[in-house]
């Protein structure tokens, strides 16, 4: 009998498919051939390792990390949560990179042509590491909704993009966090690309009054669950 380390696999029931015609850009970019299950060798069990030395003191505070001549405009919010693997264990030292539109729904990116103002004191980019309990926290401005040209009168719900590096490269995740009660969610083909209701709900943060700070900022909680939890198998 040998002992083997494996990782839990991605559960496709709760993931979007590559082809989702309601999101028109998927039509020419969706792989069509069946995916091949990748054996989990050391190439998959490993991944980049980060420490606090990789993070600057203001990287987690989007209300201060791009200030030029004042505070950014908009509703200040605190976003916090835990990064867990799908066995429920905390993932420490996970690297989260976040990016978003400003309060008016405008991205800093030069190809964003939405007719809404840039904010000279806000770039909408940050990063943060989880602590030993898998917890992270960052401070930002609530992003605005913005129009896109997917279909007539298409508007993205308010969202924050997340890029996550967990304990190994197999758990790599890029996703978006939404806000509770947003009426645009029901109309959004990107959010609705996920069939499974429980999985889709994972993308909606919850209002957290215990995170809200008096006279300062509202709090939202957003936990992230990654695949790639370690499983020991006896063969």
């Amino acid at each position: 009998m040998t002992i083997k380390q494996l990782l839990s696999r991605i559960n496709w029931k709760g993931q979007p498919k590559y082809l989702h015609p309601a999101y028109t850009s998927t039509v020419k970019r969706a792989p069509q051939q069946p995916l091949i299950p990748l054996p989990h060798t050391l190439s998959e069990l490993t991944g980049p390792v980060y420490g606090t030395g990789n993070i600057g003191p203001l990287d987690h505070d989007l209300t201060r990390n791009a200030v030029r001549n004042g505070q950014p405009i908009g509703e200040r919010i605190i976003v916090t949560g835990r990064v867990l693997d799908d066995s429920g264990r905390a993932v420490p030292n996970a690297l989260l990179e976040v990016w978003q539109a400003n309060a008016c729904g405008r991205y800093i990116h030069k190809i964003d042509q939405h007719d809404a103002p840039l904010d000279p004191n806000f770039t909408g980019a940050g990063r943060v590491l989880t602590n030993a309990n898998g917890e992270y926290c960052f401070i930002t401005i609530k992003p605005g909704a913005y129009p896109w040209r997917n279909h007539l009168n298409a508007w993205r719900p308010q969202h924050i993009h997340f890029s996550v590096f967990g304990a190994n490269i197999m758990s790599r995740l890029v996703t978006q966090m939404y806000f509770p009660g947003d009426p645009l969610l029901a109309l959004d083909p990107i959010y609705n690309s996920i069939d499974d209701e429980a999985a889709r709900q994972r993308l909606i943060s919850s209002y957290a009054h215990d995170v809200t700070q008096p006279e300062w900022a509202l709090g939202y909680r957003f936990d992230i669950v990654l695949c790639g939890s370690k499983m020991t198998v006896f063969e």
Binding site: I10, K17, Q33, L38, V174, I224
Partner: protein, 188 residues
Amino acid sequence: MLTQTPSQTVGPFFYDALIAPGKPFIPTLVRDGVQGQRILIVGTVLDGDGAPVPDAMIEIWQADANGYHNHPADPNYAKADPNFSGLGRCDTVNNGRFEFQTVKPGRVEGQAPHVNVRVFSRGMLIHANTRMYFGDEAAANADDAVLSLVPIDRRDTLIAPLLPSNGLPTYRFNLVLQGEGETVFFTP
């Protein structure tokens, strides 16, 4: 088991947060003093019409020249090359093209040398995973357990030819998202 958080597209507006100067990931995985053979990996991301995809992001992850990873799951963690990062990230703003400066990886657990490759882009609700193998490693490729899972008529999509070059050895690995010559993608 907990419900996993689903993927959503990286969208079109990631550049300033994930790619711009000063961000932690760059297309150069090597520093001065790196061990092994320095190489370039170049390629183009193509859509189902054969058109270049100028708003993708490519990430690679690989072992160092000795086949070691700078990660505690690797029994040879302590011996991993301190001048090699293992992870690279590149945009495709230049007409769908990407280029990484890295080293040729050593063999990992007897596998043929390979690089793990991920493609993210607008229009991809979840990124695609693949592996790049080296065109000048025919004998090792023929014995590789992962390549052997791939239908034989599609294996070429994973094998990067060595291009004629006066400088660093340069391997070309195009990523065809869809249609004729579609790159083989794996599920994690």
